[in-house]
């Protein structure tokens, strides 16, 4: 909301020494937040003076235009007192007119510097200005012609044009809809400085009578008050006076025609939207009703609209003539030929206005006010003010008829204890202050032994609850009076176990050289196509968005890999030789349990209702994705570097498992976007979990096509895990380990197995066969080649034996080793190399 300071001051007598900054500071403290202070003068550097056109000679040009070579008296402003020669392209003036002249050296908005320059065969020493050139609006039809009494040649045009007027732009919150009017802003200013206030909506209005234009309201809930007045004999050629144009423009609206400008002016002044009809186009009585499903009308913006039974419409015998409170219709719109006017000042149900505006995507100055709530008591005053201005400025005659249908809705009073503001704010506020402050905002206050009964003022539809009144009291006392006191908190339990584990996971990955990224969780078919996911892949079953930002990514993602891959490719593209990135975040899988219910808010939903609500939400597990692309270890003076590969990805999973005390086993798998031969599904060792193997996710080398498609170096690796599942298996209380300090006995064995026998299976068999004396087994070499033969591989294991209570003998050790090998032979067909 933009408010010229002079307009505010018309209704409030502020102390003379109050600056605009002091005014806006105080208003901000009260809740009308300053957005900016504008002044047209800020963008203009003088000299900008009043000039009187002495001569003008039209000179047709080769390009078809006719320019005027003028001499203009600018008084002593040019230093010589001689007439100034200026070329002007406009034609809407004549000798003797007062105009606005910027002299050489001046600068107009946009940094447009004026100098004496040769043009059309003359030296033009300055410029005669239009409103647009001065930043005063869009009007570029011609130059500004000042009223004859505006001043004399050489006068400062800043003053004459009101360019130094300061305009305050406020951010108006929904609970301060009254701030969308000069009436409301001035009232707050009066409150801020305890200054005298004159309510522009407080005026004597004629009594309603039977001679008014006939109006029937079928829906008094939707339209509680409808006031109609008429003005006849209005001069359609009368132009809007400069002061009104200036104020409307400063307030951010466009001047249109005198009649329309007057309705807008009164709306800005009082906050009450007014609609003017061309009286001659009205046919029969006006009727206000709800629309019938499918009815159509064309609003004055030229759009044809199909209406809903919830829309309030204004009709006459011809049909619908307006979308009530939101926008008028085309058929009865006032034009430049309108001489007879019907003025409508009606109060509309705010919720209905909001819905209609939303349904038809109409945003108008009237709708903005009507949907936030307008003072329902000022319809007669606002209509009367419009009539007054139409008569005064447009030479019309006020019709004798005064139509008033309905009355403002009764206002419910609110009971409040007089110590509530103190109890809520923590400020020591005396009961008298509570009453004073409530009265200061215009409320009626009755005090008795039970407390206060408060009726809020009609311009404050937002105030319905005791706590609303608390805010009113406290904002006047001043938010700066709120003391700073720490509450006495209950004993907290610290971070939860999962919160601690999540931190641990992040730190472990960072410690392993991975950098965390945060990506947008949106995905679509193209995303999944790039990953090569098959058509029936569960990850293609997404939670779709009704209003996605991008048609390419219309759903919440089921996998974090695309975001991390994109970030990795971006780093590589920016010259990084290698990158290890990770992201943790939730993904979503639909549960298809129907819409989530919307409950009332007058009570807590019962447990069954809450359960239904929670069940309707998608499943949202916490995932981890890691992408390892390019150089994992750098080359340097120590030797060669090393690129990341499948083993790094699986290694990270094992590292996390170790960190959380979970034994994670990789098993051969085939799943896009991984390389079909280099992908592991990661399974929690059943012995540490519930007994059934739980799949945590996958890790390995990315498919070559995926790397190529998404701009990653070949052999990039990746993993994606369900962290909720991993954390669910995290070790709880770890029993302290016991270990032997007797000597270690070492046995190394090399076993030849078929290529497709997993090393883990051989290791497990060895472990099983070796018995209790085995302390550890570790694969330290894999050999394939001529000595082994096609289709086989040799796995070398280091077996380490130790007894808890004695030094092992050689025969005990070799017996254990032989048993291990025998078991491996039995289970995996292993043959010991000798």
């Amino acid at each position: 909301m933009k408010a010229p300071v002079s307009w505010i001051k018309e209704y409030v007598d502020l102390p003379a020494d109050v600056t605009t900054e002091q005014l806006t500071d105080r208003l901000t403290d009260l809740g009308l937040k300053l957005e900016a202070i504008h002044s047209a003068a800020d963008a203009i550097t003088g000299p900008l003076v009043v000039g009187q056109v002495l001569t003008m000679d039209p000179e047709p040009q080769k390009n078809g235009k006719t320019i005027n070579w003028c001499t203009v008296d600018v008084g002593d402003a040019n230093g010589s007192g001689d007439p100034q020669g200026i070329v002007c392209g406009a034609h809407n003036f004549q000798p003797g007119d007062l105009v606005v002249v910027v002299l050489p050296g001046g600068v107009l908005p946009g940094g447009f510097e004026i100098s004496a320059r040769k043009t059309y065969g003359h030296v033009s020493a300055g410029m005669i200005c239009s409103a647009r050139e001065l930043g005063l609006g869009d009007d570029h039809e011609g130059i500004i012609v000042l009223p004859a009494d505006a001043g004399k040649p050489g006068d400062d045009a800043f003053e004459v044009l009101g360019l130094r007027e300061e305009v305050i732009e406020f951010e108006i919150n929904p609970d301060r809809a009254y701030g969308l009017s000069m009436r409301g802003i001035a009232r707050e200013a009066a409150l801020a400085f305890a200054a005298p206030y004159r309510d522009p909506a407080l005026r004597d209005v004629p009594e309603p009578n039977a001679e008014g234009y006939p109006v029937v309201v079928d829906d008094p809930v939707g339209c509680p008050v409808f006031v109609a007045r008429t003005v006849t004999g209005f001069d359609p050629s009368a132009s809007t006076p400069g002061w009104m144009v200036e104020r409307i423009t400063h307030a951010g609206m466009r001047p249109i025609s005198l009649a329309v400008d007057i309705t807008n002016y009164v709306m800005l002044e009082t906050g009450r939207p007014i609609h003017g009809y061309d009286l001659d186009k009205l046919q029969g009585p006006i009727r206000v009703r709800r629309a019938v499903e499918g009815e159509r009308m064309t609003t004055l913006d030229g759009n044809e609209r199909t209406l809903s039974p919830e829309d309030l419409v204004v009709t006459d015998d011809s049909g619908i003539i307006g979308l009530g409170g939101v926008m008028g219709g085309e058929t009865t719109e006032m034009s430049r030929a309108t001489t007879n006017v019907l003025v409508e000042a009606a109060h509309w149900d705010a919720v209905s206005m909001f819905r209609t505006g939303k349904r038809h995507k109409v945003s108008s100055e009237a709708g903005k006010r009507n949907e936030r709530g307008v003072d329902p008591t000022i319809c007669p005053a606002a209509a009367d003010r419009v009539v007054e201005l139409l008569v005064e400025l447009g030479g019309g005659t006020a019709g004798p008829g005064v139509t008033v249908v309905g009355s403002p809705p009764e206002r419910a009073s609110i009971k409040i204890s007089d110590d509530l503001p103190a109890r809520v704010s923590g400020i020591d506020i005396a009961p008298e202050t509570v009453v004073d402050n409530l009265q200061a905002i215009g409320a009626t206050v009755d005090a008795d032994a039970d407390g206060l009964t408060v009726t809020p003022p009609p311009w404050r539809p937002d105030i319905t609850d005791p706590f609303d009144l608390v805010e009113e009291v406290v904002r006047i006392v001043g938010y700066d009076q709120v003391p700073s006191v720490l509450p006495r908190e209950a004993a907290g339990r610290g971070l939860s176990r999962t919160q601690r584990l999540r931190r641990r996971i992040g730190r472990t990955l960072a410690g392993a050289g991975c950098v965390e990224v945060v990506s947008f969780p949106f995905a679509g078919d193209a995303t999944f196509d790039a990953l090569g996911l098959p058509a029936d892949d569960v990850r293609r079953r997404t939670v779709p968005l009704a209003n996605p930002l991008s048609a390419e990514e219309p759903a919440y993602t089921t996998t974090l890999l695309p975001g991390v891959i994109k970030a990795a490719a971006r780093n590589i593209g920016r010259g990084a030789p290698g990158v290890a990135l990770f992201e943790t975040g939730t993904v979503a899988f639909p549960v298809d349990r129907g819409p989530a219910p919307i409950y009332g808010v007058d009570r807590r939903p019962d447990p069954a209702e809450l359960e239904k609500l929670f069940e309707a939400l998608p499943r949202q597990p916490l995932h981890l994705a890691v992408v390892l692309a390019g150089e994992r270890e750098r080359a340097g003076w120590w030797g060669e570097g090393r690129d990341a590969g499948w083993a790094d990805a699986i290694g990270l999973v094992r590292l996390l498992g170790a960190e959380l005390g979970v034994t994670v086993e990789p098993r051969q798998a085939n799943r896009m976007p991984w390389h079909p031969g280099r992908c592991a599904v990661l399974v929690v060792d059943p012995s540490t979990g519930s007994g059934t193997p739980v799949e945590l996710g996958h890790a390995g080398e990315l498919h070559p096509q995926v790397c190529a498609e998404l701009g990653l170096p070949p052999r990039s690796a990746a993993l994606e895990l369900d962290l909720d599942a991993l954390m669910a298996h995290a070790a709880d209380v770890v029993p302290g380990p016991a270990f032997s300090s007797f000597p270690l006995a070492k046995e190394d064995v090399a076993l030849v197995v078929a290529d497709d026998v997993p090393a883990a299976a051989v290791e497990a068999a060895l472990r099983e066969g070796a018995g209790e004396l085995l302390e550890s087994v570790r694969l330290f070499d894999v050999y394939t080649g001529a000595q082994i033969g096609e289709g086989s591989k040799s796995l070398a294991f280091a077996l380490r034996f130790r007894a808890p209570d004695r030094t092992l003998t050689e025969s005990e050790t070799s017996a254990a080793r032989d048993a291990a090998v025998a078991r491996a032979a039995e289970l995996t067909g292993a043959v010991q190399r000798t």
Binding site: T28, D29, K33, P174, R372, V424, G426, D465, F467, E471, V474, R475, V482, L486, P487, E489, A490, A491, G492, R493, L495, S496, Q499, R503, A510, G513, V515, E516, V517, V518, P521, V543, L545, L549, A567, A568, R570, N571, A576, V579, A580, L581, A588, G594, P595, A596, I598, Y599, V601, D602, R604, L613, F614, L617, P618, Q620, E633, R634, G636, W637
Partner: protein, 357 residues
């Protein structure tokens, strides 16, 4: 061998030992002067051939001479070995300025570490960290927070809705704020409640230097007997001081949020100019644009309607709530000009924060 010859052999040996410059030379000296064929060894062997009365004296002389040589050898050996070891250490000197960055460093994201810093400040006060799903029930995101279906504030937050079946609405949104976590907390536990909720939220903003469809918030909620705005102010002042330094406080301005009443905007005293608005040179402070204060977030007393919808006895309990943007806080705390740096994933950005947060 004559006595003087023995002495001479001994002296020659001792001189040679003293002159041995390194272990190699000493080894040669040992062979030459103490080996089997050395003069003293030969003299020792001659002793047996001497007449018995001469043996004792000769034996003594030769024995003493050999003893002196042997001792000198041992001493010299020790000195030379020590010198040798010292020389090896000198020779093994490396250039410690060589790079050691074989494995590039990892880092956690400043949004993560910043959220943890905030959480830790509150946990230290006895608060707990509450969490909830990002895809949330419309009822929890709006209705329970006093944002009814026709509340104008619903249009203030442009919401991502999930698609329902056919034309039906899903009743499910991408949460527009972390406030539904507050509602969930009140629905699931009895007061006293002191929780802080950091998390990811969504609004349909176009992506630019200061807007993002996804960003991060932290909200706090306290519900207890006798809670007032003063406790809200005290808590936020403490938070500000912990996050930005002692002496950095907050101020309140009246505002509007459906879930709080009274409501306030929270401004943070500028931690760079400390509220002055300008630097030493007199130029306007760049962090607060000369205002002395930075807009930080919103707060207020929990609207009793919200307490009621969430099953808290609004007659017995009052509460306060506050919320601010984590991304925005990071932006002004670290002087970032473009929000998008947080979401690009450039490792140069993320690693720069180190452990400061």
């Amino acid at each position: 061998m004559q006595p003087e010859e023995v002495d001479a052999a001994r002296d020659a040996a001792l001189a040679a030992i003293a002159a041995a410059a390194d272990l190699e030379e000493l080894k040669r000296v040992r062979t030459e002067h103490a080996g089997d064929r050395s003069p003293l060894a030969l003299a020792n062997r001659e002793i047996g051939a001497l007449p018995p009365q001469a043996r004792k004296e000769a034996g003594q002389r030769v024995g003493q001479a050999r003893g002196a040589v042997s001792k000198a050898l041992a001493a010299r050996q020790q000195v030379l070995e020590a010198e040798h070891e010292a020389r090896i250490l000198v020779e093994e000197t490396v250039d410690v300025t060589l790079p050691t960055d074989r494995m590039p460093a990892g880092a956690r994201h400043p949004i993560t570490t910043g959220s943890e810093l905030i959480a830790d400040i509150f946990v230290a006060m006895g608060w707990e960290v509450a969490e909830g799903p990002v895809i949330e029930a419309e009822w929890l995101n709006f209705d329970a927070l006093n944002l009814g279906p026709d509340h104008p504030a619903r249009t203030m937050q442009d919401t991502f809705w999930t698609a329902g079946e056919g034309d039906a609405e899903s009743g499910v949104v991408l949460r527009t704020h972390t406030s539904p976590v507050q509602a969930r907390t009140m629905l699931s536990q009895e007061p006293p409640i002191y929780v802080v909720c950091p998390g990811r939220v969504f609004r349909t903003d176009e992506y630019d230097a200061t807007h993002s469809p996804m960003f991060h918030q932290v909200e706090g909620l306290a519900v207890d007997e006798g809670i007032t705005m003063a406790h809200l102010k005290g808590t936020l002042d403490h938070f500000a001081a912990q996050m930005f330094g002692e002496g950095i406080t907050t101020r309140f301005r009246p505002s509007y949020f459906p879930f709080t009443e009274p409501s306030a905007e929270v401004d943070l005293k500028c931690f760079v100019c400390r509220g002055v608005g300008s630097g030493d040179s007199g130029a306007p402070c760049r962090t607060c644009r000369g205002e002395g204060w930075i807009e930080w977030g919103g707060c207020g007393v929990v609207n009793p309607r919200v307490l009621t919808a969430c099953g808290v006895d609004a007659e017995r309990y009052t509460g306060f709530a506050f919320g601010m943007g984590i991304d925005r806080t990071l932006m002004f705390r670290h002087g970032l000009s473009d929000l998008r740096a947080l979401f690009e994933g450039d490792v140069r950005f993320t690693t720069a924060f180190g452990s400061e947060l």
